[in-house]
Symmetry: C2
Subunit: 320 residues, 2 copies
Amino acid sequence: MATIKDVAKRAGVGISSVSRYLNNSGYVSEENKIKIEQAICELNYKPSYIARTLKARHAYMVALFVPTISHPFFCKIAYYIEHYLYERGYKTVIISSQNNKQKEIELLQMLEQNQVDGAIFITHHYYEKMNSKLPLVTIDRHLAEGVPCITSDNYQSTFNALEFLYQSGCKKIGFIGGQPRTESEVLYRYYAYQEFVHERDLPSIVSYSDIPHGEEYEVVRAFFENNPKTDGIFAASDMLANMVYQYATAHNIRVPEELKIISYDGIISEWIQYPDFTCVKQNVEAMAKAAVDVLLRRIKGKPYDKKTVIPCTFVKGKTT
Amino acid sequence: MATIKDVAKRAGVGISSVSRYLNNSGYVSEENKIKIEQAICELNYKPSYIARTLKARHAYMVALFVPTISHPFFCKIAYYIEHYLYERGYKTVIISSQNNKQKEIELLQMLEQNQVDGAIFITHHYYEKMNSKLPLVTIDRHLAEGVPCITSDNYQSTFNALEFLYQSGCKKIGFIGGQPRTESEVLYRYYAYQEFVHERDLPSIVSYSDIPHGEEYEVVRAFFENNPKTDGIFAASDMLANMVYQYATAHNIRVPEELKIISYDGIISEWIQYPDFTCVKQNVEAMAKAAVDVLLRRIKGKPYDKKTVIPCTFVKGKTT
DNA sequence: GTGAAAGCGCTAACAA
DNA sequence: TTGTTAGCGCTTTCAC
């Protein structure tokens, strides 16, 4: 590996001239520029990021913390975050935490050691140690006082979707969702439902618990056995909506004639396109862009918004 | 940020004693150990990864190159790769390349600058510059001579699946797959089909082209219009299998009575569980583990296998 | 305009 | 056993 020293020697100039040339800082004569360019080319020299980081105190890396990267929503947002970070010159270190405290601690160390410049969180844990000084941003989660948060308008879009079901004639509208373990923007989907049925004087038909992975169908089955006359479902995730549809098919309940379904997220549908769910689609790309933007503002010491709300899109499909 | 110097001063010892203490190398008296521990604690000192890397020439980071992280197969394998790398003390930098040459070049730079210690490739491009000296590993792709490759036994498992269709009574078995743009292990799914129908003296009914994202259904439709009497389908991916099922449902073709479907991958099915496809499941976790293992052997200069073949699992569902 | 020199925080060889 | 010292590759004053 050639170093800056080798380049300087070969070009017959000083080290700092090479450095100035590389960083476009200070003056380098045309004559020397050419010599340096040649030397760099001949030696196939690449400046060391590591050494630069040691001096400059930034690594151009950001850590992305997700509960699991193997999930439709998280991998999609990871996709856009990586994209926008890359566009701004940053690499993405992925940490699939499995709610593993140890990984959280390592992240803090990475931050403190300048191995990464900041972090984006999309996770369920609450971390007391994460004070607002560190360059953090969260998506859909409240981490701590002062940590900026990007979220979709869970409340309003859920409310609108419910209104749509109501206007379509549903009188027994159910809510099926997994209960988040911590304070999270996702809770607002549930709040919106409760306020909606209260306002409209409708019955509250709810399945809202911490659903273990793989138990989704069982939850849906139990829901329908307890509430067979439900004529509209708001499912808080793609996966649950699919289970509802599957249950309906298996029990000869016609969708949308007898049962209308609206799903939140609309991520899986892009892959399988069947059934064509009516859904509230989170604007994942915009959320990712905003997260990157706010984080880089923090890193660079620029002013930023404490909270950014991204509107959802209502997509009419064939299940309503 | 406290440095090793601060710790040494506070503990009243030399810098190298602290370093020795931290790295468990060389001798440090019990007395000094305690003093050092205290100083570290009081100052909340964390050794700088960056500075260490500069000296030691490795970053404990690995780059993972995928065409897109927003895809069931790639995000699942990314999940396991991150897991196993983490277990071995390495972080994962994700690069979602979109077949973007520029990102490839940056990766090479990262390698050359020791910003990452190695890379795992799951991508469609062929890169001439990637010589076998660099610590690379590929999954399901041939990159270049000498770059070790991890792959599932595409040929044998496809062949077995076709045999299963045949034994179940199918006489007109079709193959639908997207054609990889480069030499790839995935090609063997197609080869296996061709040899199978040749051996059994069956007609070759094939749709095999480079399918643009979103065009899957159109491809399936065209296939069935040209070959309406097909009674068995081997779909080279989850997504295509779903499209086939969707087409069948829409055209009142009963599955599995009139049409049997076997899907390769079986990843999406874990998310949606419907329909319950018979499928050839790649052992993603084992592939990831092998990739990490081979890569770290390369990085550490240990001997490794040029090619590792991971067996697939045949899972009987309700579409056959 | 330019280059020598002083670090960034750490490791490791070497002298004490 | 310990501390001093010379780098790792780069950036950045600061004299020349």
